[in-house]
């Protein structure tokens, strides 16, 4: 593990080791400070923050500021909308992407490699190219302002198929496929009884990845959710900011509410999640 090539460093150069840890801790503090500051501003009055020097510690007003957020916007409604969209998209993506990934990973059929190449090619198209016509389609369908405008187009994606295909190749052994085939299992039964149980950790990662992405998405929800009464959290937060920009305590309480639930979900699977992100990029 001594990648830098020296003997156990604690024995040789303790002061260099201390410098290393000091640098890493400073970096971690910088990384986390904005979240701390969010809490500080969200728990003080705006005038406490405006003081010179400003208050650097959390104050007692967190719940008052949160109450103001609930007063100004339909926070519960936005949270509900975000949860509906994030959960539906995650469930649909996991289902459709794993089916496609299983077919691409474990079967041969005419056109397979070309079709998979086509999946990869769709990565290349930037979102804003399709944005205006997509909005027009939603107008035609009558979905403007409706949550299905966020759910249906996102229900299957190229990244998930690509990533899960790699995962399935490694996780589902051919021997098990053969055994279940001898038992007379067709594609869908093999998917259910062989593939799904084995790729569960991979689904965990893709699910978390998708959920985080949908939760934080902004451009498309901003475009298509034209009814300010029914928007996702990120859009609601941006509206709160542009209409009440001077009440920092309240705005930051709103920001905190938009960040913390996701942070908790992330921390549950953080270790595995980060490992998968890194692996996927290096392959």
């Amino acid at each position: 593990m001594n990648t830098m090539g020296d003997p156990p460093a604690s024995r040789r150069r303790p002061q260099r080791r201390i410098g290393l840890y000091a640098a890493l801790i400073v970096g971690a503090v910088v990384s986390l400070f904005p979240l701390y500051w969010l809490l500080v501003v969200a728990s003080n009055t705006t005038s406490d923050i405006y003081k010179t020097p400003p208050r650097l510690l959390p104050g007692p007003l967190l719940f008052e500021n949160i109450a103001k957020v609930f007063d100004k916007i339909d926070f519960a409604g936005s949270l509900g909308a975000t949860l509906i969209v994030a959960c539906s998209v995650t469930a649909l993506v996991l289902f459709f992407d794993s089916l496609a990934a299983f077919a691409f990973a474990k079967y041969e059929f005419p056109g397979r490699d070309k079709l998979f190449g086509l999946v990869l090619l769709t990565f290349m198209l930037p979102m804003q190219l399709a944005l205006i016509p997509l909005f027009m389609i939603m107008t035609t369908l009558g979905w403007v302002g409706q949550l299905q405008a966020l759910i249906v187009p996102a229900a299957a994606n190229a990244f998930g198929i690509f990533w899960l295909r790699q995962y399935t190749i490694g996780a589902v052994p051919d021997e098990l496929m053969d055994a279940s085939r001898i038992d007379g299992a067709g594609f869908f039964r093999q998917y259910r009884t062989v593939c799904l149980p084995l790729i569960r950790p991979g689904l965990g990662f893709l699910g978390l990845f998708t959920f985080i992405g949908v939760w934080n998405d902004y451009l498309w929800p901003l475009t298509v959710l034209t009814n300010p009464e029914q928007v996702t959290l990120q859009v609601a937060l941006a509206q709160l900011n542009s209409s009440f920009g001077q009440d920092y305590g309240m705005i930051m309480a709103g920001a905190l509410l938009a960040v913390v639930p996701l942070l908790l979900v992330f921390l549950l699977g953080a270790r595995q999640f980060i490992g998968n992100i890194a692996e996927g990029a290096v392959k």
Binding site: N2, M4, G5, D6, A9, L20, A23, L24, G27, A28, S31, P34, W37, L38, Y50, P53, F96, L99, A100, A103, E108, F109, T122, L125, P126, M127, Q128, L129, A130, L131, I132, P133, M136, I137, T139, V152, P153, A156, R181, G186, F187, F188, I212, W215, Y218, Q234, L237, N241, M252, A255, A258, V259, L262, L263, L267, A270, I274, I277, A278, V282
Partner: protein, 320 residues
């Protein structure tokens, strides 16, 4: 694997079977991949082709569009605001990407030095990447506020003057770049770290035998062997960096004076995608917006290809 009695997936065997039987066995496979292709055709491919047609039209999405040939593209070439947006985007891209990649490399090298609590550090460095851009943009807007922002208070306390961060074009670009750097440094460090851990230990041992020091080892071994990862990260940074929108839109929409999607003081925060959005959804110019979208695509495509070819050429040079 040859023991399979029916439905064997090996192509050689299945091709010899009667057509009807093959089809009846294969339809589930096509059904399994169909949802993606159906959804992509409807909500990805079709709108993309439609937007090409739209870019040759004058349209507001309500009245009947008229064909105008290349007029939108001609207008784009002479549009000063567009070229300013292009320039802003590249300034923000440069200000964020290079410090970000350098910092990420340093952090990755530190995490790679066999440290304790490595997982905790990695999680701490990764957290900024999963916190919402909107929330962080609002926070950065407050922290860099002119009169009462934390940064100016700190500058004031050490006797320096207040900087009008968000009231000058360059200040806005700097804050957007800082925000991007903040959110993506840890992410890229994690990827660099994985690349470093994939480098064989033997190479390092050989270097040690040759008497190479830490810095020398890092520059002559880690960096060259990490090249594929660096190129990957660079390409991803180009594609995402040149499409910066949310940071710019949220940071410049605070306060009553801000016109929607204008990019703030002196249009400093007007990125290419923000300008696209302003024209398309601020002013309902669907035809012109589509032309801008294709302009952005072309710029990103060319810049990506250029960087790709440049990195390939450098690779050839270093190999010789």
């Amino acid at each position: 694997m040859t023991t399979a009695v029916s439905g064997a997936p090996s192509a050689g065997r299945t091709q010899r079977r009667p057509r009807g039987r093959t089809l009846s066995r294969r339809w589930p496979l096509y059904a399994a991949i169909a949802p993606f292709f159906i959804l992509f055709s409807a909500f990805g491919l079709y709108p993309t082709i439609y937007s090409l047609a739209l870019s040759f039209q004058r349209s507001d999405g309500l009245t009947t569009p008229t064909w105008v040939g290349l007029a939108n593209y001609q207008q784009l070439l002479g549009d000063e605001m567009w070229w300013q947006a292009v320039q802003n985007t590249f300034i923000i891209f440069s200000l964020s990407t290079f410090p970000m990649l350098l910092l990420a490399l340093i952090i990755a090298a530190m995490l790679n030095a066999n440290v304790r609590f490595s997982t905790t550090f990695r999680i701490a460095y990764f957290v900024p990447n999963i916190t919402s851009v909107v929330a962080m943009a609002i926070l950065f807007g407050a922290v860099f506020g002119q009169s009462f922002g934390l940064v100016n208070s700190a500058l004031n306390a050490i006797g320096l003057g207040k900087v009008p961060w968000l009231n000058t074009p360059f200040g806005i670009q700097l804050v957007i770049s800082l925000l991007i750097t903040y959110q993506w440094t840890g992410y890229n460090a994690i990827i660099f770290l994985a690349g470093m851990q994939a480098i064989s230990k033997d190479v390092y041992e050989a270097a040690q035998v040759d008497g190479a020091g830490r810095v020398r080892t890092f520059l002559s071994i880690t960096i060259p062997l990490l090249r594929p990862t660096i190129v990957f990260v660079m390409i991803v940074s180009i594609i995402t960096g040149l499409q910066t929108f949310t940071e710019a839109q949220v940071l410049t929409s605070t306060g009553a004076t801000a016109a929607p999607y204008s990019g703030g003081a002196g249009h400093g925060g007007l990125t290419m995608v923000l300008y696209f959005y302003q024209q398309a959804f601020g002013y309902n110019k669907f035809g012109y917006g589509a032309a801008i979208a294709w302009g952005i695509f072309l710029i990103i495509f060319m810049f990506t290809m250029l960087s790709w070819r440049y990195s390939r050429r450098r690779e050839d040079l270093t190999r010789r």
